[in-house]
């Protein structure tokens, strides 16, 4: 059973509309590698956010390091603004167990004390293992557990969703 996948470009436009009223001069976007960064780049441009975009690779903060080891490709985390006192919107492609978001929050706090952190995701697929919720959601989708739902770029640089076995 493969659920019908929505068009991520449409969902992205929806997120822009949802986020727009909440953006202030102290709002900063932080994308989580890899899919979250693609999404955050779009949101950042569409929302005209003044603070530079932050990029987070949470590999050093994962809770399954003992099981899976270090990720083979780690991208540098870049937080090119002062975190203290900022309203940070974390951006990720798919919200599932909540463990990635936990890692991301831990990493952010090693940069400073934000005034608030909220979460924007393209897809909420349920299956939470931690008390984490997204404030901005593109779409909610039932995905059978054990299948991987990931965001991808097609050959024209357009976002697309992929369901892997």
């Amino acid at each position: 059973m493969t659920p019908a996948l929505p068009d991520p470009e449409t969902l992205c436009a929806g997120l822009v509309r949802e986020l727009k009223p909440h953006i202030t001069a102290d709002t900063a976007l932080v994308g989580i590698h890899t899919g979250g960064v693609w999404l955050a780049e779009r949101l950042h441009a569409a929302l005209g956010i003044a603070l530079p975009l932050g990029l987070l690779d949470i590999s050093f903060y994962r809770d399954d390091f003992d099981k899976t080891g270090l990720h083979p490709q780690i991208k540098p985390t870049q937080i090119p603004f002062e975190v203290d006192g900022r309203h940070i919107v974390l951006v990720d492609d798919v919200l599932y167990t909540g463990r990635t978001v936990r890692g991301a929050m831990n990493e952010l706090f090693d940069y400073g004390r934000p005034a608030s952190i909220s979460l924007a995701v393209l897809i909420d697929r349920g299956g939470r293992e931690l008390p984490v919720a997204a404030q901005y959601v593109g779409a909610r989708l039932e995905v059978p557990s054990g299948r991987m739902l990931v965001l991808d770029l097609d050959e024209n640089g357009k976002l697309r969703l992929k369901l892997d076995a």
Binding site: D57, S59, F60, Y61, F65, T68, G69, L70, P72, Q73, I74, K75, P76, T77, Q78, I79, N106, E107, D110, Y111, G112
Partner: protein, 315 residues
Amino acid sequence: MRNPQLNDEGELRHLLTIEGLPREILTHILDTATSFVGVTAREVKKVPLLRGKSVFNLFFEPSTRTRTTFEIAAKRLSADVINLNIAVSSHTKGETLLDTVDNLSAMHADMFVVRHAQSGAPHLIASHVASHLHVINAGDGRHAHPTQGLLDLYTIRHYKKDFTRLSVAIVGDVLHSRVARSLIHALTLMGTPDLRVIGPMTLIPAGVDKLGVTVFHDLERGLRDVDVVVMLRLQSERMRGALLPSAQEFFKYYGLTQEKLALAKPDAIVMHPGPMNRGVEIDSAVADGSHAVILPQVTFGIAVRMAVMSILAGN
């Protein structure tokens, strides 16, 4: 024969020498180190990766500097670090190397960082320990010092990007240098086309040309148009017999001065593994000059050691 550093999946389990490692593993270490450079530059310089793990620094030969860099790297990964100066401990009471290791393993060590005057000691330990333990060679005899080789590699890549067009000169006491040996292997593996060693006949090991390097005994000829100059420390404490007339004489022929450095490319970088002997192998004007990247090497060294430790611990 299987490389004793790799596990059945071909992943790095111990780091004993750069020799024989696939290029992808070196690149993976360097790429991971890039992310750790970012970590060490922020206010909270720690990540929780090795939380709950115990790293034992086993130093059978004194080296404050190398021990400290491993200690900092482990602490920034949130590991617990235990420093053992075995040169002045149980070793002198007659305990064998492997008994020492067994005792520490019984204390639930996760990783050993080993410095030993005897070449091959870290290999011996690696082949002896249980499968969940990891061993890093922090310098064994004249054999290898892989993390130093890797941090040199990292530094060169940071400033010069592409190894495949570089001329690199390694200058001085190559004979006693495990740094030189590790770096030659690493640079060859990365495809560096022009590798030179420069030094007096008595301090160049016989057969070094078999590693694919060109030997020069004249510093001025050897430095011509190089991109990278790696100065080695004159290891007077390892010298037995009269290999050299005097430090002054050495400086006259092989000390790096600004005048001699001018023969290299205008954007050449000067490296040194430290500790420096100013006025012996390197002139202060060069050591403190704009071509020197000796202090960045130290900073990168922490990140490279963090990368090695976290990759090993995860495999």
